[in-house]
Amino acid sequence: MDKVVNIVVAGLGGQGVITASDILATAAFISGADVKKSEVHGMSQRGGSVASDVRFGPRVLSPMVPPGEADALVLTAEDQESAFAHLLRPRGLRIAPSLLPAALASGKMANTALLGLLSRGIGLPMDCWHRAIDQVLKPEHRAANRAAFDAARSLP
């Protein structure tokens, strides 16, 4: 990894945007990279738009992903695309629930399943993801979320 990877996770409050970006940032952290994760908390808890910027690499400076420089945009709500599409770089990776089978896309673990898809496009070792899921989530949710992650990661 010789350059900074920029990812934006976005959606609506209550959809697990922050949990997903926590797992992503923790996975990058475990891999030994420099990491910055930035979001604006506050009234977003009441169902409004939420976005979280995660940057990792050898050395991360600004905590915010500059518009047009996101390598991937992970959307937990398809209809939020218009609010965040300008952050994605040309030919950047767009990850959204419509890419998942219905069972994964509609469940409570949709956010972790989206990370499973994302994990295919960015070079973080599998082991880092699993450990990150275990670190971020409560014990009773770990196994199911690992399963959702793995299922999405191994989709054809």
Binding site: M43, S44, L61, S62, P66, Q80
Partner: protein, 537 residues
């Protein structure tokens, strides 16, 4: 070797405070500062929510007068509330370290104004330090403690949203100064600010500040990132990493000491570059001081006073461009949760077409569609005073439409003096105050407050009762309405109180939906005779 941790700026401050033995932390919730107290308590530190920021600072002052290390935390507007003790504790000085953390919100992600706390450091004549990321938040907090103890002066520790809420890699390797013993030394001339004592105290403070400036000019709180010589940038806070990324060829002078500004260091830096610019969010506080000192610096176009910076914006600023920021697509605005108890109140306000002098909390969303039923929002607690002012100048038929509406946490923060005003100077038509008692400080993330009777860790502590306060003040009619069982009676009840000439307080009680589960678990544990988390399953 200390381990790597992934921490937010707020958590990093809490870690540093804990490592250096801060004995007492007091704060009032406010985005983006709230997590400092929560994380400090989580690490085992002694921390408490105060009713408001003024009390938080006063409590911390008392601890610091005893030689203990103390911290008070708040958002930028909280420092307005705490300004009175701040200005005078600057002059009394302290025995133990006193660090007052104030968190600004450029761009107003979650605030009612965009004020710049750096002005307070200048006005109160106290030193101010500011980190640029989470690692520095940790390291610099330890410096703040050293500085405070060395000069026996309170230190303002400023952060902004993007430092508070950005997680980054933190290694807690910096040595934490060991905490001195807590011993109370009586010193009446230094601590009792009657004019005879305050006159020399003012001179003492200015002398300390001059020494701190000399120390700052020579010290490590200015850092040079030496790159090209064509462009030099002076920056603070998150603008430092923005600038380093935006212009790889520019040399950057990073200021961690914001006040007193190490102006000679900046002057020498300026001499090594062809052109000098300041990158700062908010007011041009650094720029103004450079200009006053006769340092040639490029003037920042006025538009950069507003909103927060990011890398492309800093690039435009450094290119001297004053073109408006590209429009950002608007996301979905927040709304009151479905089933939120506040909704019932706004339905009633709308139905009765009242003028609602409002306040700050989740319930501020009542100003937006579909309700559009809150008329004013100024600052915490203002609902009552503003409502009373409206009542006293409007003709009677209009005055009778005015209600004041505020949340339970806001009421305790600064609504109580409004009740005193209502009893003392009652408008001829009386007045109606509606307290939306959802049993929490929901807006900032469900913190406890004095009327919930629970502490930072949701443990049972002392409790004040809203109805007792209002009755004790002499309000003529005080009524608690259980919104579970009697919510439907609200419109009729409100109409009745508006029609009479009495002073009334209606307390609408029903927990915030997002706290119900937590409350149920806590109460079950307590009923089982055990308040300990993790015990009793």
């Amino acid at each position: 070797m200390a381990e790597r941790q992934l921490l937010s700026g707020d958590e990093a401050v809490a870690l540093a405070a804990h490592r250096c033995g801060v004995s007492l932390a007091s704060g009032y919730p406010g985005t983006p500062s709230t997590e400092i107290i929560e994380a400090f308590a989580g690490l085992g530190g002694r921390a408490g929510w105060a009713p408001n920021e003024k009390v938080a600072v006063e409590v911390a002052i008392g601890a610091a007068f005893c030689g203990a290390r103390a911290m008070a935390t708040m958002k930028h507007v909280g420092l307005n509330v705490a300004a009175d003790p701040l200005f005078t504790v600057a002059e009394t000085g302290v025995d133990g370290a006193l660090v007052i953390v104030t968190c600004d919100d450029p761009g107003m992600a979650s605030s009612q104004n965009e004020q710049d706390s750096r002005r307070y450091a200048i006005a109160a004549a106290v030193p101010m330090l500011e980190p640029t990321d989470a690692q520095e938040a940790h390291d610099l907090f330890l410096e703040a403690v050293r500085l405070s103890e060395r000069w026996k002066v309170p230190v303002l520790f400023r952060m902004t949203t993007r430092v508070c809420h950005t997680q980054g890699v933190v290694v807690a390797a910096a040595e934490a100064p060991p905490a001195p013993p807590i011993v109370y030394c009586r010193d009446i001339p230094a601590r009792v600010m009657i004019p005879a004592n305050a006159r020399p105290a003012h001179r003492r403070l200015r002398a300390k500040l001059a020494e701190i400036l000399a120390w700052g000019e020579a010290g490590t709180l200015v850092r040079e990132h030496r790159r090209g010589r064509r462009m030099g940038v002076v920056a603070n806070g998150v603008c430092v990493p923005h600038a380093l990324e935006a212009e790889p060829d520019a040399s950057v002078l990073q200021l961690n000491l914001i006040h007193p500004l190490p102006i000679e260091r900046i002057r020498s830096f300026a001499a090594t570059v062809d052109a000098l610019a300041v990158v700062e969010e908010g007011d041009p506080v650094i720029e103004e001081q450079l200009l006053a000192a006769g340092i040639r610096v490029r003037r920042r176009p006025e538009m950069y006073r507003f909103g927060e910076h990011d890398v492309p914006r800093v690039r435009r600023l450094l290119a001297g461009e004053a073109i408006p920021d590209p429009p950002r697509p608007r996301g979905k605005p927040p709304q009151l949760c479905n089933g939120c108890p506040h909704r019932t109140a706004y339905d009633a306000f709308k139905g009765l077409q009242v003028y609602a002098a409002g306040d700050i909390g989740c319930y501020s969303l009542g100003a937006l569609p579909p309700f559009e039923a809150m008329d004013t929002l100024v600052c915490m607690g203002a609902a009552i005073g503003v409502g009373l002012g409206m009542r006293r100048v409007l003709p009677d038929s209009e005055a009778r439409k005015v209600v004041s509406v505020l949340g339970d946490s806001t009421f305790v923060h600064s609504g109580i003096t409004g009740i005193v005003e209502m009893v003392y100077n009652p408008p001829p038509t009386g007045h109606v105050v509606v307290i939306l008692d959802n049993g929490t400080t929901a807006m900032t993330g469900m913190q406890e407050h004095p009327a919930t009777g629970r502490g930072v860790a949701h443990d049972l502590i002392g409790r004040v009762r809203l109805e007792d306060i209002c009755r004790g003040c002499g309000v003529q009619h005080v009524e608690v309405i259980d919104m579970h069982s009697a919510g439907a009676s609200l419109p009729a009840k409100l109409a009745e109180r508006l029609a009479c000439d009495q002073t009334s307080v209606l307390i609408l009680r029903r927990p915030c939906l997002l706290t119900v589960k937590r409350l149920r678990e806590l109460e079950a544990r307590e009923a089982a005779g055990c308040g300990q988390e993790g015990c009793c399953g």
